[in-house]
């Protein structure tokens, strides 16, 4: 099973890279862009085939390492293939 973990900054945390991306998009002529936030995508291959167990395991990985919950949120997507 594959898991995708999306890590993004919490509201209120300044994201200078997102700001720079937004500014550059405006400079390129793209209109109507509000706030831009940059995050991370982490893909994991798991031996576990049970979705509930896999989700629990990835949650633990997020809490222990993949995200810093002081500043970041995470969302887990599981792919049964």
């Amino acid at each position: 099973m594959k898991a995708r973990v999306h890590v993004s900054y919490k509201t209120g945390v300044l994201d200078p890279q997102g700001k720079a991306i937004g500014l550059t998009l405006k400079n390129l002529g793209f209109a109507g862009i509000g706030e831009v936030r940059q995050g991370k995508l982490i893909e994991l291959e798991l031996a576990e085939s049970d979705a509930n167990k896999a989700r629990k395991a990835v949650e633990a990985m997020c809490e222990k390492l993949l995200a810093n919950t002081v500043i970041e949120n995470y969302a887990i997507e599981l792919d049964n293939e």
């Binding site: 209120g12 945390v13 300044l14 200078p16 890279q17 390492l65 810093n68 002081v70 500043i71």
Partner: protein, 227 residues
């Protein structure tokens, strides 16, 4: 007094702090590899500056989970003094020994220059050689030094006199805060003031040949407190 410097893969200020501390102590400083799980008795543990693990995932994230850190956390809980400089500060935050986080500099640039910091609490084992409010000129060199804490944590730090140093200006200094840190914070203590993390590099201003010696007071404070 015994002092130990933890060496992570990618630490690059470990030798600098070793030499600066040895000069203040007048004795040797032990270097401890991050892969070790045990450490000899010590009075001070230093997490040095650098780019451990190439700053992968988040600055300090990998190092904070390295084998020796279990022992560092245990010693810190026993009250052993722990000093984290720059990347060491990032590691202390990732390890949960200090609250908050360090984000990419607000200006997005790597900042490498001398800055001014004000001593906000001189009643600690890290700062007793300084005067309250004394302004120090010390180098910073970082890309991710923007201190962030949620409002409750920040209020706790302020109320508990746990802000060690704040960036401050002097004549001719237009941007006193080099990285956008909340409340101009350059360094903080834990609640018992036995753990200090700071972005500026005291070991780079500890010898007349460095061009300044304002950082030496921090090391000398520790030597007088722990000897």
């Amino acid at each position: 007094m015994k002092a130990s410097v933890i060496v992570f893969p990618g630490s690059n200020c470990d030798r600098d702090i070793q030499v600066a501390l040895a000069n203040s102590m007048g004795g040797p400083v032990e270097m401890v590899w991050h892969g070790q799980t045990e450490m000899a008795q010590t009075d001070l543990i230093v997490l040095p500056g650098g780019f451990s693990y190439g700053d992968y995932l988040r600055c300090g994230a990998m190092s904070a989970r390295s084998p020796i850190m279990r022992e560092v956390v245990a010693r810190a809980q026993q009250g052993v003094a722990v000093l984290g400089i720059c990347n060491g500060f990032q590691i202390l935050l990732e390890a949960g020994l200090l609250p908050g986080a360090l984000l990419l500099n607000a200006g997005r640039n790597f900042v490498c220059r001398d800055i001014n910091i004000r001593v906000e609490n001189s009643q600690t084992q890290f700062t007793s050689r300084y005067e309250q409010g004394q302004i120090l000129r010390i180098p910073v060199a970082h890309h991710d030094g923007q201190y962030f804490a949620d409002p409750d944590t920040l209020a706790e730090l302020q109320a508990g006199d746990r802000i060690a140093f704040r960036y401050c200006g002097s004549a001719g200094d237009e941007s006193a805060n080099p990285n956008g840190s909340i409340d101009d914070i350059a360094g903080i203590f834990n609640d018992r003031r036995t753990v200090l993390g700071l972005m500026p590099h005291p070991e780079r201003a500890a010898d007349p040949l460095h061009g300044g010696t304002d950082g030496r007071g921090l090391l000398d404070s520790l030597v007088s407190a722990l000897s």
